[in-house]
Symmetry: C3
Subunit: 349 residues, 3 copies
Amino acid sequence: MTKTNPGNFFEDFRLGQKIAHATPRTVTAGDVALYNALYGSRFPVQSSDVFAYAVGYPRAPVDDLLVFHIVFGKTVPDISLNAVANLGYADCRFLHAVYPGDTPTAVSEVIGLKENSSRKTGVVYVRSSGFNQDGTKVLNYVRWVMVRKRDEAAPAPGDLVPQLPQTIDPSTLGSACPQIAVRSYDFALAGSPHRFDAYAVAEKIDHLDGMALEEAEHQLATRLYQNTARVHFNQFAQSKDRFGRRLVYGGVVISLARALSFNGLANAFHIAAINGGRHVAPMFAGATVFAWSEVLAKAELPKRTDVGALRLRTIATKDRPCADFPLKQNEADDPAVILDLDYWVLVPR
Amino acid sequence: MTKTNPGNFFEDFRLGQKIAHATPRTVTAGDVALYNALYGSRFPVQSSDVFAYAVGYPRAPVDDLLVFHIVFGKTVPDISLNAVANLGYADCRFLHAVYPGDTPTAVSEVIGLKENSSRKTGVVYVRSSGFNQDGTKVLNYVRWVMVRKRDEAAPAPGDLVPQLPQTIDPSTLGSACPQIAVRSYDFALAGSPHRFDAYAVAEKIDHLDGMALEEAEHQLATRLYQNTARVHFNQFAQSKDRFGRRLVYGGVVISLARALSFNGLANAFHIAAINGGRHVAPMFAGATVFAWSEVLAKAELPKRTDVGALRLRTIATKDRPCADFPLKQNEADDPAVILDLDYWVLVPR
Amino acid sequence: MTKTNPGNFFEDFRLGQKIAHATPRTVTAGDVALYNALYGSRFPVQSSDVFAYAVGYPRAPVDDLLVFHIVFGKTVPDISLNAVANLGYADCRFLHAVYPGDTPTAVSEVIGLKENSSRKTGVVYVRSSGFNQDGTKVLNYVRWVMVRKRDEAAPAPGDLVPQLPQTIDPSTLGSACPQIAVRSYDFALAGSPHRFDAYAVAEKIDHLDGMALEEAEHQLATRLYQNTARVHFNQFAQSKDRFGRRLVYGGVVISLARALSFNGLANAFHIAAINGGRHVAPMFAGATVFAWSEVLAKAELPKRTDVGALRLRTIATKDRPCADFPLKQNEADDPAVILDLDYWVLVPR
């Protein structure tokens, strides 16, 4: 009897199936330091206990994306070990702040299954949730992945494509963000004077800076999240694959783009939700990542005058500066584009 | 008068000599985070304060191998700075759990000396012990290294090969492991249902996954342990050596193999002892490490029904998957094998 | 209206101008662990809470250079984003110990401005200070950088070269160092028996060891300090530059040299001041760093019999051992020299 986990194949999933994922992990100041060293993030609420306390947090919360990566990492051995491709994210809400000392766990529910016409693979839709040690839900998102079948002849385990929101209603945002004492928010220390009102819909911002990525860096990051997907680590196997190289975990690109976006969005201190995201092209170590953002929408939050929400589209590229705001919407578009992320951030008013 | 430490040469050691090693170091949550980032370890007792507390620890203990590496690192400037080869380990016992905030120190005693027939080198046997800030012994092991003589004409400083146990009596194991509340041990969160009874003597487990290693990674790891052996860091000198490259500290390979072994041994949450270990071939950055294990023996522990002991042999290879369980016992055997480790782990019953 | 920070150009500065820098950041045990992993530092006061407490600190303080790098990093986006060259440091005093949990901020004052004859660039002199969360000044130093002009036709914004001390009066040193209980300072655990009296003026010490540096390592270090200078990270842009490569942040070389200097200066536990420093040649990843030191002077501290001050000159080289104490004073001198640092350390008496 084999004791190793070969991962689930398409026919192993069932609609409504719930999976409690290993491994619970206490997040610490060590994880936060590594996150900073890996991406160079500079948002003051997550950097400084003093700044965070002054504006209304008990102390500096853990970066939203670090929470996302930790929860995501837990789901990999059960959901995507046999994935051909990570197709997309949707309806991702950051529901409660996480602090060093907290111990997130993760649970997923299968909410959709659709066999591909080849019958060799199928798409699995899961809603994954992260919980704190006290049961508080801290994060909730849907992702869908294309997973191999073990046996092509096996019947499809279900046939349902779930309805997913194109964007998250901004009136539901903000539960992970305490009431912000904007008078105590030091805009000089934060690095920018620009508040919610300074941003306009359709405004485009080139984040200017570029960050090269090394193999050691993305491996350190991805292991930190206990993400076990083989494509990120097994160079021996990857050398026989079509790319010949390790693929960078998409979350590393998201975190790099977010850190670069500080230059232009320094006061966008909290990611409240991710409407959707696509990894448009694979990222490999050795390339330099650039990013730009567009303000897609602005929204006030119900009963809150402290912060407003900006809906952003952030595009990341490899080895290509973004002064001319490149996009990839079709195959013929710019091949340097690697990420297309649609999300809501909160900004002081 | 020179103030730099040239390291001890073979004729500098004396039987019975005791050496208190520098540098005491407080282990923190930062070290734990780096350990996770470097190896991707997923054992829940060491990952989660909540899980550890539920099963009987006051909080998550530091990974056994991190403790080993920290103690080992301290011994290097005094014992093995002039080593030609690290020949082996034996009789290594993990005696007391270490927690973040503890400050290990290390002491070694010379228990054997044997000049080689060439008279250019000799083998030094030391028993090294790690102690916590309160004097509690946390770790105890023997290693033997081949050390250069400063002066070939110098007389041998002693002539004794110590008797070492081939294996550690399992009835002496477990002092670093509190009584485990198995009912509170959540096997779903731990990532595997397999308890002590599920493993059979002679069972072989291919751990499947492969992990590539970069120069930056093994350097970060080895510096974290304050291990100063030049072969791991001094590329300028190594470039003139027979390999032309930095050698990876053997402890990095042990930790990678242990982390890989989670896939198949997820509930082997504690290394209680290491019977012996050999670095069969050198490891260099750039290779992908694989591992497999065999259950050599099983043992109950006196007066304990909570956990049982598995004696494991774990083999690590470079750039070679382990589905066919490769070994290197003779020179003609598989050259991809780099580690052959014989140790006792504890598993819930 | 652009929201990104293009950095200040020479004509943007004014004499007497004060700049409060982003981002405040709480230093944690995670930062300390990363610092150790990046450089392999072994000074016991900074490594062990137990050792530090025994000699008179409340617990292990943060390494002086980590404090320097964190404060320096904050100044980069405002001072040196458009720098052509970082020309020098002077009058750097470590005024108060920093502990994990503290939250440094940084402020700079422009104290000198001198346009170059080309009118394309000018030299900006700033005095930068780091403060703890309670307003205590922890660090104070002057640096001068050559900064591009945005518009060559713009008038020079000032014309003043400040008078700077060649060396810091040793009678002013020591405020960051509590009274040391030398009787409780364990020289065996510290790794060397050599006290203040053992060192002689003009004594030269080859630190022997060499440490190779990888791209991932200097990037991790420099991001940890939230230093955003593009030359360290943007390989895409650097590939078009004269070197074709990322430049290593000079502070990384200083920290490597300091860590190497442990071998010969193990009891030089605190950097009290930096008289001056020059990065004599650029450092790139892939090279192995070596170092040697000369004792330039010795001084007693007023009313203190616990510690004395050594004025050291530490030279770092790349891919060149330092047994013959190489220097670069003129262009024709040894091109392997990369750092020439003049500083005061405290040593137990």
